[in-house]
């Protein structure tokens, strides 16, 4: 954990308090808290890569900057043995799992709006640059062995995804009762020109409910 959750919560509250007046004429945060959602939805259109949220539960696309991804209290569980990166075995942790659990977000990534043949090796790289608070993103194989993609205690984390693909992650948060901001970027190298195209850094907002 890089910062205490209390600090992260305070910082989040401060940002929201500051942002609220200027955002008054905009729509407020939409909150989603269950169903299938491609959080890191990547699209390639008109020579640009774009990161957005595919909310499959409601059949809409959402702007990460105005969407709160709410982690419901039922996500609370304890750290299993062999998952040291999440904390001590038996500690509380809030996890959105990579399987569909009723009442929780079923959160993943998607590159289905990126055609094959445009990027080198039909591959993009997703990077989580930073997170407020204690956040881990990981996959789990058939036998329960995890692969950590991002650990906020270890700095930025990157992983490759195929174009035209879709996958799910486990999203673990170390504390409840606070906001978490994840700063995310997707990029790829164009087959034709060898130039790198990036979404730029995009902020995502999670709220872990008590």
């Amino acid at each position: 954990m890089k910062r205490s959750a209390a600090t992260a919560v305070a910082a989040a509250a401060a940002v929201l308090a500051v942002a609220a007046p200027s955002a008054a004429q905009q729509t407020s945060f939409d909150i989603i808290d269950e169903g299938h959602v491609d959080v890191f939805g990547v699209a390639y259109e008109d020579g640009e890569l774009d990161l957005h949220i595919h909310d499959d539960e409601n059949g809409v696309e959402r702007d990460p900057g105005s969407t709160a991804l709410r982690v419901n209290p039922a996500a609370r569980t304890t750290v299993p043995a062999g998952y040291d990166f999440l904390g001590e075995e038996g500690d509380d942790v809030w996890i959105l799992p990579d399987t569909n659990v009723e009442g929780l977000l079923f959160a993943g990534w998607a590159t289905e709006e990126v055609p094959d043949g445009v990027f080198v090796d039909d591959t993009l790289t997703i990077t989580v640059h930073d997170a407020w608070g204690d956040v881990d993103l990981y996959t789990v194989d058939d036998f329960g062995d995890p692969t950590v993609l991002f650990d906020s205690a270890e700095g930025p984390g990157s992983w490759e995804v195929g174009t035209g693909g879709h996958g799910h992650l486990n999203w673990a948060f170390g504390e409840a009762g606070g906001w978490y901001k994840l700063t995310v970027e997707a990029e790829g190298v164009l087959e034709d020109t060898n130039q790198t195209v990036s979404t730029g850094e995009v902020d995502y907002w999670f709220y872990v409910a008590c």
Partner: protein
């Protein structure tokens, strides 16, 4: 008591497997793709719970007795060490928890009924299991470590509460051979009361 029940069940299961073998030519073989092996249904007119096989890749519905799951050599995974009640050291035949080309991706679903009408949960029991000598089946959630079904009574997982609308666990078969697994579902419907499905037997040809 539980041990005896399971052993008796294993004998019944073996008989069922033999009977099944006699009509094997009628079976549909599933060897890959997305299949909700345990797709639970509810008929509120008859107050009857059912268990079907939904082949999501082939877009077909089958009676479990008419399906042969071909757990071919593509499912073979060698593990350096054992994990009690999950897998053996050495060879295991594994139905993966995530979709993998060429392999069976087997799960369960309650999408055909309204789970809320059953208090959010069905109880599903592995009532009988016939396995090759030394062979076991473990159905577990890799993310939590929870063993949902296991053929060895010592693993204390003869049944599970199904609370998911759609779920894909890891299935592990520890020896090659023919397995007959018999499941039964029960629940309490908010209006119609207690209901229990028929026992349905699944056949897996492993290795």
């Amino acid at each position: 008591m539980r041990t005896n029940a399971i052993k008796a069940g294993a004998v019944l299961g073996a008989v069922a497997a033999l009977l099944f073998a006699g009509q094997a030519q009628a079976a549909t073989t599933i060897s890959s793709g997305h299949v909700d092996a345990l797709a639970f249904t509810y008929d509120d007119t008859a107050n009857a719970l059912g268990i079907e096989v939904h082949d999501e890749t082939g877009n077909a519905v089958y009676d479990p007795a008419d399906v042969l799951f071909d757990v071919h050599s593509g499912h073979l995974v060698n593990r350096p060490g054992a994990d009690a009640c999950k897998f053996d050291a050495g060879d295991n035949w594994v139905l993966p928890r995530t979709e993998t080309a060429g392999l069976i991706w087997a799960g369960w679903s309650t999408e055909e009924l309204d789970l809320a009408d059953f208090g959010g949960s069905l109880q599903v029991e592995l009532v009988d299991a016939a396995t090759p000598t030394g062979g076991n089946v473990s159905v577990f959630d890799a993310t939590t470590g929870a063993v949902r079904f296991h053929t060895d009574p010592a693993c204390n997982a003869s049944g599970t509460a199904v609370t998911e609308s759609h779920h894909h666990p890891t299935w592990v078969f520890t020896e090659p051979g023919t397995y007959a697994l018999t499941f039964q579902a029960s629940g309490t419907h908010a209006v119609d009361g207690a209901v229990t499905s028929a026992e349905v037997t699944y056949t897996f040809d492993v290795g």
